[in-house]
Each structure stands twice: as structure tokens, then as C-alpha cells.
Symmetry: C2
Subunit: 123 residues, 2 copies
DNA sequence: TTCATATTTCCATAATTATGGAATCGTTAT
DNA sequence: ATAACGATTCCATAATTATGGAAATATGAA
């Protein structure tokens, strides 16, 4: 996954209402939820919610399908998985950041480094 | 980890320069890097970098210590781990989103749901 | 058709975030 | 002291994002 995609996803999730919406969609599972249900659940006016859902959609985190007059938004698990993988591989010290469910690896050693200034001070 | 903290962390990482800085710090390991080194590495003017490092700091993703005239920024692995855990637990379908390094669990079943409109249409 | 419902787009406004030069602060060397 | 260095804060400006009412669009019902 490219870092620009990851940034888009993080940007999308880094907002109270969007994170809440996404969590609700994850909870709802593959069958998803309609904007009106989400609007009710989250207490957001329709245009505001629509704006946020569009953000999530553009970030590739949710998909939309139509069912009659309703749209159905559903979480894209693969996309989310990609984000988590990126963070785990690039932004954690490898295995050190694996979820608790995995056999926890040792944290990177705290080898206190010899900095120039410290050496100078001692001398 | 509270969702407000997670949002702060995602917000911090959802920016090109900050994500790059954080990745560099993760790569650098516990001994960290100074702003001048980062400034060089990322090609950012000092005040701009300082601004972004402050964001990362406020989000709790990096720590700062002083060594002589230099400051030393280091990635906070625990914080990052907390973020990944939150995303894995709350924003993926549980095990479905675990990193590839873990035994991959089955994806949530795509049980195509019976929506009201679909039922109506058939009737 | 005409009407009602679900949702989005449009738009103006408010609020937040990013940028980088100039000035400032803390630390070390002379 | 004073100079030099590393880094931050200050500040004005530009750019982006969020908000929600009003209007428009699409679909299905009467």
C-alpha cells in the first residue's frame, strides 16, 4: 500500500464523526448501513453526514451500493487491513507493535546511545 | 486507549511530513534523531519541522529529551502500539485485520443480506 | 403524473491547519 | 562577557476542512 493512500485513510479516520461512522459500519458488518440509520445513530444532520461519508469513500475505506431509494455504506475490510499492515510494518518497530493477540515480541533494546555532547561533557 | 487519543494520533500521522518524520524516527530506533538531522533528511525549514514535531509530541507519539544544545526526538513505540491495537480491535472485524505476520483468520462472511427494498421488489 | 422519501450537491460561513521569515531562548565554546 | 549554534516561538498569510440550510436528484408509491 502506498503511503499516499495510507495518509488519505488516516486523514479520513482522524475525525470524530468519521471514526464513529466507520466503527459503526465495521460493527454492522458486510451488510452495511444506510445514511439515515447512521444519521440517527450518530446524531448528525444529513448533509454533514453525507460530507463525511464522501470523505471515507474517497479514502477507499467504505463502499456504497444502492438498494431502492437507500444507499448502503459498508466498511472495506481489506483497505483497513492495508492501513494496519502499513502502520505495523513502517511505523512500529516491526513485531514490537503487533496486536496483543499475536505472540508479543521483545521491545527494541533501550541501548542508551553515546551522544557527542555527552562524550564531550565527560572529557 | 481512548478514542480521543487515537484521533489525536491519527491526525498527527495523517500528514505527509509528519508521517515521514515519524517513520524516520521509528527507523532511527530508541536513540532518536535531532531536528537538524531530520530537517536535512526531510528537506524542511526548521520552523516548519518544529511545528510538525510539536504536533507529534502533543499526540504522544514522540518524546523529547535534551542533549546539550540538541534536542532528541524519539518515537514512542507504546503509543503507536496502542493506536494499532485500537484500529485492530475497533475498526477491523477483529482477527480479520491482524497483520500478515499473524496466522490469517478467515474474512467475515459475505452473507448478502436481505434488504427491505429487495424483499418488496420480489413481492 | 404527482407525491413522498432518501440522499446528495450547492453554497456561504466558520474554524482549523500549514508555511516559513524574523526574532527569541537555552546551551556551550572562546 | 560575547559569540555561535541548535531549536523554538511569534506572526502574518495561505490553504484546507467542517458545518448545515436550501435546493436539486433519484427512486419508488399512489
Amino acid at each position: 500500500m502506498k503511503s499516499t493512500q495510507v495518509i488519505a485513510a488516516l486523514e479520513a479516520l482522524a475525525q470524530e464523526h468519521r471514526l464513529a461512522a466507520f466503527r459503526a459500519l465495521v460493527q454492522a458488518g458486510p451488510q452495511g448501513l444506510t445514511p439515515s440509520v447512521l444519521s440517527e445513530k450518530l446524531g448528525l444532520p444529513a448533509p454533514t453526514l453525507s460530507f463525511h461519508l464522501a470523505q471515507l469513500r474517497h479514502a477507499g475505506l467504505v463502499s456504497v451500493t444502492r438498494d431502492g431509494r437507500s444507499l448502503i455504506y459498508a466498511a472495506d475490510y481489506d483497505a483497513m487491513s492495508g492501513v494496519v499492515d502499513f502502520l505495523t510494518e513502517n511505523c512500529c518497530a516491526g513485531a514490537a507493535c503487533a496486536p496483543a493477540s499475536c505472540a508479543p515480541a521483545a521491545k527494541p533494546k533501550e541501548k542508551t546511545h553515546e551522544t557527542p555532547a555527552r562524550a564531550r561533557r565527560r572529557a
